[in-house]
């Protein structure tokens, strides 16, 4: 099997660099720095030390006994929700921040949807003493005011984006525009496995610890590989992080996309399921777009999955059939979130609940004893507002039912 991506960042027809020439020099510098870092034991040691002592990694692998009993299959949860800042995203930002330091840059910019990647970036910037600016859709700054406050507390500047649909994709546009103008001293600390080469590869390399750890942990605990690995997919960083270690194994990989109100309603963020190839934010991949190629707004109860594109490596895994991608609706995800809370005492992120819901949906068709590894990519504290709105909780006199 040839090494993917190729030197110009392509997985088959996907990936590449669809950006202004003005950014190419910076992308080449980044690619060279990353390639060198990956081969440098010093970088690896520093990354490992930081991950352990600061990031609280490796994250535990947890056998969800009561949930497994109900589902009729063995469900193992990779507890990324226990990481510093509450999600897998700390892996990506620590890796990229270390790289920023090595490139001699002193400022980072980032895009954020719900604010999780923004908070993680602001955290790493505080740790390393970088200046930090986060672009966030104006709509999202209102919906996620607590995360805006977190970023500000950490010393970052949050810039509300008022163009287009005022959400994640527009924040990404604005970050790219800002990067063109400040590329000399600024690193664009992208939040997922999307964007122009080398970002998809680089973010995957920093997140792949999820799967590397889980593979060793489950072999240690059960003596065999899992039958299935499941993860949620927005841009797809936690899923690539979980999948990469298993790509060469006889393990089924499932990515669960945000089905929103239901795929058939057209109000969703199920980019791969929709199956239209296009170019967005610097890469050729699957894109939610209209007949003319104008980007369509995505919809999901989960801000972290609410994005009309997807990382190009996922597009490749889907096109080649190596991984299966299916939509999970808002309702299925919220039901899974509640079930996990009540069977295991774990409140996960709405994003991660999509992975769990997908796994629970597969369960009845699986043989008993099947091992399903679910990446619990983040914790649910940030989603309590959504939970309150959705279930109507928050009133102590109520009975706690919908």
């Amino acid at each position: 099997m040839p090494q993917l991506p190729d030197v110009s960042g392509h997985w088959g027809e996907f990936g590449g660099r669809f950006v202004p020439e003005a950014l190419i020099a910076a992308l080449e510098e980044l690619d060279a720095a990353h390639t060198k870092a990956m081969e440098d034991p010093g970088f690896q040691a520093e990354f490992a030390k930081l991950s352990t002592e600061y990031g609280n990694l490796p994250s535990p692998l947890y056998y969800a006994e009561r949930l497994s009993g109900e589902a009729g299959v063995d469900i193992w949860l990779k507890r990324e929700d226990l990481n510093h800042t509450g999600a897998h995203k700390i892996r990506n930002v620590l890796g990229q921040a270390l790289l920023t330091k090595r490139m001699g840059k002193t400022r980072v910019i980032a895009e954020t949807g719900a604010g999780q990647h923004g908070v993680a970036t602001a955290t790493a910037a505080a740790y390393f003493g970088f200046e930090c600016t986060v672009y966030m859709g104006e709509e999202d700054t209102r919906r996620q005011a607590l995360n805006v406050a977190r970023m500000q507390l950490l010393g970052a500047e949050v810039v509300p984006v008022t163009t287009g649909s005022r959400t994640l994709k527009d924040a990404m546009n604005e970050a790219l525009r800002e990067w063109v103008a400040t590329v000399d001293d600024t690193h664009y600390l992208i939040g997922s496995v999307g964007g122009p080469h080398p970002f998809p590869k680089l973010v995957r390399d920093y997140c792949r610890g999820i799967g590397d750890e889980a593979r060793a942990q489950i072999l240690d605990r059960t003596g065999k590989l899992p039958d299935i690995v499941a993860a949620c997919v927005g841009g797809g960083s936690n899923a690539m992080g979980a999948f990469t270690a298993f790509l060469e194994d006889d393990v089924k990989l499932y990515g669960f996309e945000a089905g929103g109100d239901g795929y058939d309603t057209g109000r969703h963020a199920a980019t791969i399921t929709a199956g239209d190839i296009g170019v967005l934010h610097g890469a050729r991949t699957y894109v939610l777009q209209n007949e003319d190629g104008q980007t369509i707004e995505s919809h999901s109860i989960s801000a972290g999955l609410d994005y009309p594109g997807v990382g190009p490596e996922h597009a490749h895994l889907a096109a080649t059939g190596r991984a299966a991608y299916e939509p999970v609706t808002d309702a299925e995800a919220m039901a899974a979130l509640e079930k996990l809370a009540r069977t295991e005492g774990i409140i996960c992120a709405v994003e991660s609940a999509h992975a769990l819901a997908g796994a629970l949906r597969l369960a009845p068709g699986l043989e008993s004893g099947t091992t399903v590894l679910v990446n619990l990519s983040g914790r649910g504290d940030k989603d309590m507002g959504t939970v309150v709105d959705y279930f109507g909780y928050g009133n102590a006199e109520g009975k706690g039912d919908k």
């Binding site: 669809f18 202004p20 003005a22 950014l23 020099a25 546009n173 525009r177 170019v279 934010h281 894109v287």
Partner: protein, 262 residues
Amino acid sequence: MRSAEAFAKCKAEGRAALVGYLPAGYPTLADSIKAIDTMIENGADLIEVGLPYSDPVMDGPAIQKAADLALREGFRTKQVFEVVKAVSGRVPILVMTYWNLIERYGVDAFARDFKAAGGAGLITPDLIPDEADEWIAASDEHGLDRVFLVAPSSTEERIIATVAQCRGFVYAQSVMGVTGARSATSAAAPGLVERTRAHTDLPIGVGLGVRSGDQAAEIAAYGDAVIVGSAIVNCYLDAPDIPTGHQRLAELTADLAAGVRR
């Protein structure tokens, strides 16, 4: 009409060319045609017609806003051919577009229909030659100009590779930043033009930031074409009504045209 013809005429007159940009469908479909006519009548030597796109990462606020308005009014890609057909014949008409719109239409199909409408070529701000095999083949097949960008950050190696694939002219992005009228033009531009000229005989157009005849004259001293976009869009964005916008555009174009003749 191809770009080379316009550049030859300007060269014979011993001056730089004036290139005016406007998104198709802005301020309305009919008025975008009228605006382009206005630019041609007042001295524009080439026209860039923009294709409005939902995610214009290279554009500043003015062009973003114009594109957004055109899309909200229901602009469709195929309508660009109406615009091109209506204005072609007098000066070369190029389309400047983000790449997804062309891929979606079909690269060869777009080249064919655009040529049939009288178009000269494409300027592709987010397509670098490295990713352009299909477009290079289609533009050869249909005889269209192919304008790629060079930037202050471009290495020597990339300038060489980029100009080798250009036809018509080379677009020098003069500032590291998005489109937008600026009071001062770029200090990096003369150096970039000089570095580019070392590797090509093609004319070099300089874009991003020009808003006055004085700035146009400054750029005309070293560039072969002065490209103006946001300042043109601003004629309409800032105007109380469209007729006033047309009038302001006529005055601006005349000022710019005088600038390239100084």
